[in-house]
């Protein structure tokens, strides 16, 4: 148990009254998600390894009953939890968020613009990144050039579903993209509809954790595409995912969530 683990265990069980602690730790030479109860040794806590703990938590929820789980939470994790809580998929009362500030390197790798959790328990807050250079380049390209870029990227996709499986806000057990309804192509790669539909489903919930991009074996810059769509949501509705109180503009009426240009034809 390294110092960090000791610190986390203290926060979780002594200070915040949790029943379990979920964290990334190294045990027996392997680094992976670990869940411990009070008194158990989690191994050496690791925060330098990117991993979607929120995803693990979501999968454990059906088995947790009323137990309180403390989870090591980056800013994106916190926002992901807010999106899930909004939908009744996780229960705020059962979760204790231990705020982890990402390092400068981590922030740069994610091109992250919102990197400090609301409460910092571990780590030193770093400066956010101004923007995603690839996203900016793509936005200023002409349509044909941009299309050529993305079609080249999409062609690499082999429908491994790493992006959906590891995404913290992707909550369907059976992903509709596994069916042929909207993506009737035989074999791989799936047509562009796969990525367009995924982008739409995530439009009101993506917290830019970057897990999709990290999981992609074909190195498709999925996080960049997410950021471009999130920027559109900000432009259209002034909406950013991760806000516990704000409902998705895609589901509410124009009175609740007006369009910037008042919902006329487009």
């Amino acid at each position: 148990m390294n110092d960090l683990a000791r610190r986390l265990v203290t926060i979780a069980f002594e200070e915040r009254g949790a029943d379990h602690l979920l964290l990334m730790a190294e045990r027996h030479g392997n680094v992976g998600p670990v869940m411990v109860e009070k008194g158990q040794d989690p191994g050496d806590a690791r925060v330098d390894v990117p991993y979607q703990l929120v995803n693990i938590l979501s999968n454990l929820i059906p088995f947790m009953g009323k137990a309180k789980v403390a989870i090591v939470c980056r800013r994106c994790d916190e926002r992901a939890l807010a999106e899930l809580a909004k939908r009744g998929i996780v229960d705020d009362a059962s979760i204790v968020k231990i705020g982890l500030a990402c390092t400068k390197e981590q922030v740069e790798r994610c091109r992250c613009s919102d990197c400090v959790p609301s409460r910092v328990d571990i780590g030193e807050p770093a400066e956010p990144c101004p923007d995603d250079t690839l996203a900016s380049e793509l936005s200023s390209m002409g349509t044909e050039e941009r299309s050529a870029f993305w079609m080249r990227q999409f062609r690499k996709c082999n429908k491994c579903f790493g992006c959906t499986l590891n995404c913290p806000v992707c909550f369907c057990d059976d992903c509709v993209l596994e069916e042929r309804t909207y993506t009737p192509e035989q074999g791989i790669p799936p047509g562009p509809a796969f990525h367009l539909i995924r982008s739409f489903h995530l439009a009101d919930k993506c917290v830019e954790c970057g897990e999709c991009e990290r999981s992609c074996p074909a190195d498709i810059p999925l996080l960049t595409l997410r950021k471009m769509v999130n920027r559109d949501m900000r432009d259209l509705f002034g909406y950013t995912a991760g806000d516990r109180e704000r409902r998705s503009p895609l589901l509410t009426t124009l009175d609740d969530q007006p369009l910037e240009d008042d919902g006329h034809a487009c």
């Binding site: 939908r87 009744g88 909550f171 369907c172 509709v176 909207y182 009737p184 998705s248 589901l251 509410t252």
Partner: protein
Amino acid sequence: MARVGVFICHCGHNIASTVNVEEVVEFAKGLPGVAYAGHNLYSCSEEGLGSIKRSIAENRLDRVVVAACTPRTHEPLFRRACEQAGINKYLFEFVNIREHCSWIHTKEPREATEKAKKLVAMGVAKAALLEPQTEGESAVLPAAVVIGGGVSGLAAAASLVDQGIETHLVEASDRLGGLLAEVTTIGPEGTDARETVRGIVTRLEASPKAHIHLRSRVAEVKGFVGNFEVTVRGCDGDLKVPAGAIVVATGTKELVPTGEYGFGQRPEVVTQLELERRLARGERPRRVVFINCVGSRQPGREYCSRVCCNVTLKNALALAKASPDSRIHVIHRDIMSSGTAAERLYKEASESGVKFLRYGLERVPEVVAGRDGVEVLVYDETLEETVHLGADLVVLAVPMVPPGDSEATAKLLKVPRDKFGFFLEAHVKLRPVEFATDGVFICGSARWPVSARECIWQGMAAAAKASIPIKEGKVVIQAITAEVDPDKCAACGNCVLACPYEAIEVVERDGRRAAKVNEAQCKGCGTCVAACHNDAVSQKGFTSGQLSAMVDALVKAALEVPR
């Protein structure tokens, strides 16, 4: 494996003169799932329907596609024919190749024919995936609620109790009669307004089936056609009234002028209703100027309020006759006195000394201080001169407008309003006294300014319509409602937020949370369907599989041919 029958209609020469029907039939024969393709001169005729039914039997068809006019008229007819031939009526698909094809591409017969083929391919693709459906039934509570105790509400309530239906009449003020209770006579015949109201009220009060709630409002409406729960809030608390139908008769109020012609500053300037009150008190001002169309028939409120001209005429006539030296003027922008009685009234008013002057919106009259009383300056369009009229009273004929709480009422009942705030009926001609929302009906000026007589007719009509589900005891629920596959549902609540009718909710079943549709509340709009990410909720008759198959069929027919 589906056996689809395709029937292309000539519709006389409406379709056949542009679309090559035989070519479309040949094309249809080659479509996947098609076991038979034929054509008819008039599919909707006895002969056409008979031929379809025979083909169904002879070819053991289990799905039917008719390519003809528009489903909005003849879908029920063909559905019935399918049923008669032993096929579930929801295994039928209508393809529009007339309004959407032959009639709009008359100069391009080749292209129209190709388009018809594609539309048929799309229809067949959907039909092959249709599922049989059973229409549900919902029992109807044998009671009605009428909201509003004005003359239209009274007429509706009286009609309902005449039919033996328990009726609750809810009126916000402390007396019945609405606007009529404040006027003297009803034009153009001059019937006594209070007598009219009293007549209907007496009938109502005599019936044990009538329950009148004064000083009461409808605070909440839950439920759906046949099964409403209406919370009536009176001085002594809330009463929950179960009802099968609701009639909206909330009426209108007079527009309050915002300072036009000195209203509010000069005591001599009043509205028509105020004049009625004075007339009721026996007052007969000698010099009166009526200004018509104050606040109506102009930008922002373009409508004509129907009754004001007749009211002005009857009041002007009464005042003119009251004294030999009365001086009555009517300043107008057209006199809308339709029908013989009203036209006679106009003539009589004119012959009794009422003077009519026409003004235009570009130069409206002005009311200024006079030697005694006020002076009305009006630029008469006919004389092309400004005329000065001395007046003891200036009466503004203002339009009827929706009452301040019409928005709240609309939200309560989930019914739409037009741009002026009046309620919107289901269909101007075919369903004039009902809302699109089943079980809720509309009559009187709440829909559109109408005369007292029209209010009564509409009240009776609404009551007649409202009594139908109550007398039948049940309503049929169209099988185009949403349904949830609980195994796919992630209970994310998207559908719940999206539904305009609160007809879907997340419930716990067998230890699992999933969405559930209230079949009777669901209107079959499909908003929830588009909100669902993984097709856990789908709409019967419009599933994503069916609509996607239509897209695939179009792609195949249009793009996978050598160009």
